[in-house]
Symmetry: C2
């Protein structure tokens, strides 16, 4: 318990942590895409503008193979800091937690077997609607099918995502649904102004308070799909939404279509819960009566600048890193000192082999 | 036990049945395609020549939704006899066994979420090679990945298939690997002569005894993919190959790439093990030291001609019907009388609703 900080429904959070010890976890990795990420300066999820679209499939390949096939290195920030997938991979492997990749609108397909949903990627919300209403319905329906199937195979379904630019669409959805949200960023100096401009122009297109219409106009494909997964999975097993403000947007939309709060928790890193430019924990409490579990991976103690960077605000979260670390610590009993040790091994393997 | 007849490694078969009671099962449904099925008179897996290509995705949709999206009725023989998927669906639902669909070379994608493998369909082996050697490697590699993932989520992975024309490619692969095989058919008056002609012309193209080359020249995409699944899954959990002579071909190829016999069983219907035009049980014994488990679904006692037909030699097996019935009986303790009762309910639902 001392590894974690609890917010929201703290009792339920304690029970979740206790009841999940030595239980079965399954990590589902949802990759998607919104053209909103192509707006210059909006994301660091990629070494440069052209490589951003390869980040979601490359993260999936790295999780699975330990290296990427779509690109020659693992996803990095422009200045060479590694994907948070490094933390996810370390967490899942150290706890022998199996994972499956789901393509819910990625522009590029990963080079591994994955669950296909036939979903197109989202459009740039600063200039046009992200999706049609029927594409949102399709996303929710297929999310419900996938969530039910996966939840029937485990005791706790962890859901992580990779969608560059997703914090901006998350911000738009949260605001459109009536929440005074301030979201985090993969960039230490959060480009709040730019995000707010984009969101403002996107919100002007909203002409209905129907949740499907709102997500279609200003959201991204990941949000309705994961909300669909949550709504069916939470009626079958426990669900851990692994992420920061993007999962808050999923939660806000899921609250409209219905899900079982008693089986749901959201797990993230202390870099999100401690982010002063955002208001994650109070936001989650406003949306749903569920626990928010936060873990400090202890990366500030790393001897590698690339790992230390996460604690300094680079790519604070993503690829379900926080929820994966929490799940692996619950299953193995490891603390952050042990986690840092194995994360540094993986970092060393990557940056001596690549 | 009295529900089943055991062949091959009978001791292991008894242990399998005993040890699997009240365990977790997962049904994986592998859909594929070989243009060999377009040869007139080779298969009954479709109402007519043009609809055969829709049978695999339609079977997947029927298993999942209870109706089809790709076609307006469930798959049927030209004279209106239902797909063996009816037996599979009844078996899986009555035992609450979850299932996942895998597209391993189907010409048409199913309208539901499925695991994609990026595999192309197989060519007509009477006129050209089914695949390239590298396509076979891809199928085996991806099969290994999918098998490992799925086996880690259950105690027993059931593998069923739907590939029209597949008994002919299975016959070719078995003969090319040195087995004196006589295979079953979806047609009561097994078109043995036609199959042998096709196989003969296919075998003439073989110029290497390398198993990958043999399957590439005269096989189909399902065989190397399911063999790959078996090779990895059998090292993690129990595996039930659900099918007749096509699974014998999978077994013959898997014996070349390696798999764990101790965790493997093959399950089918008594319509296959009792088929005089074939030699299933002796064939399996020659290939591997595993149990062959046979179930008589008791359909000869049905009041519906469409169900009775299975016992009269129409579509004796397919969509993993036999192995699914065996697994559901092991899990629920149902006998064939109880199974027939629920199968007739499903038959009635279909043919009064459609």
């Amino acid at each position: 318990m001392e590894n974690f900080e609890l917010f929201g429904n703290i009792e339920q959070g304690k029970n979740f942590i206790e009841s999940m010890k030595s239980k079965r976890f399954l990590f589902s990795f949802v990759i998607s895409y919104t053209e909103t990420c192509e707006i210059p300066g909006i994301t660091f999820a990629g070494a440069d503008k052209d490589s951003i679209q390869f980040t979601p499939p490359a993260d999936a390949e790295y999780l699975h193979y330990g290296y990427c096939k779509t690109i020659d290195k693992i996803p990095m920030t422009p200045d060479g800091k590694p994907t948070p997938g490094l933390l996810t991979k370390t967490a899942l492997e150290s706890a022998s937690i199996p994972h499956l990749t789901i393509n819910a609108g990625s522009k590029i397909s990963p080079q591994l077997p994955f669950i296909d949903t036939g979903m197109p990627f989202g459009k740039n919300i600063s200039t046009e609607d992200a999706m049609t209403d029927s594409q949102v319905s399709h996303a929710v329906d297929y999310g419900r099918i996938v969530g039910r199937s996966m939840a029937s195979l485990t005791d706790c379904l962890i859901i992580g995502e990779s969608i560059p630019g997703g914090t901006t669409t998350a911000l738009a959805v949260l605001k459109a649904l009536g929440y005074d949200a301030k979201v985090s960023s993969s960039i230490p100096d959060n480009p709040v102004e730019l995000k707010n401009q984009i969101v403002k122009s996107a919100l002007e297109r909203i002409d209905s308070d129907h949740p499907y219409s709102i997500v279609a106009k200003v959201g991204d494909p990941m949000i309705p799909f994961v909300a669909g997964m949550l709504s069916s999975a939470s009626s079958v097993s426990n669900v851990m939404l692994a992420g920061g403000t993007q999962m808050a947007a999923v939660l806000a939309f899921a609250a409209k279509i219905g899900f079982n709060e008693e089986n749901t928790a959201i797990g993230t890193t202390s870099y999100i819960t401690g982010d002063e430019s955002a208001n994650f924990t109070s936001l989650v409490s406003k949306i749903a009566d569920i626990p928010a579990i936060s873990v400090n991976p202890g990366l500030e103690n790393s001897k590698h600048t690339g790992l230390k960077a996460f604690s300094e605000g680079f790519a604070k979260e993503g690829v379900g890193a926080g929820g994966s670390i929490i799940s692996s610590m619950i299953k193995t009993g490891n603390d952050s000192t042990k986690f840092l040790e194995i994360a540094e091994k993986e970092y060393h393997r990557l940056f001596t082999s690549l």
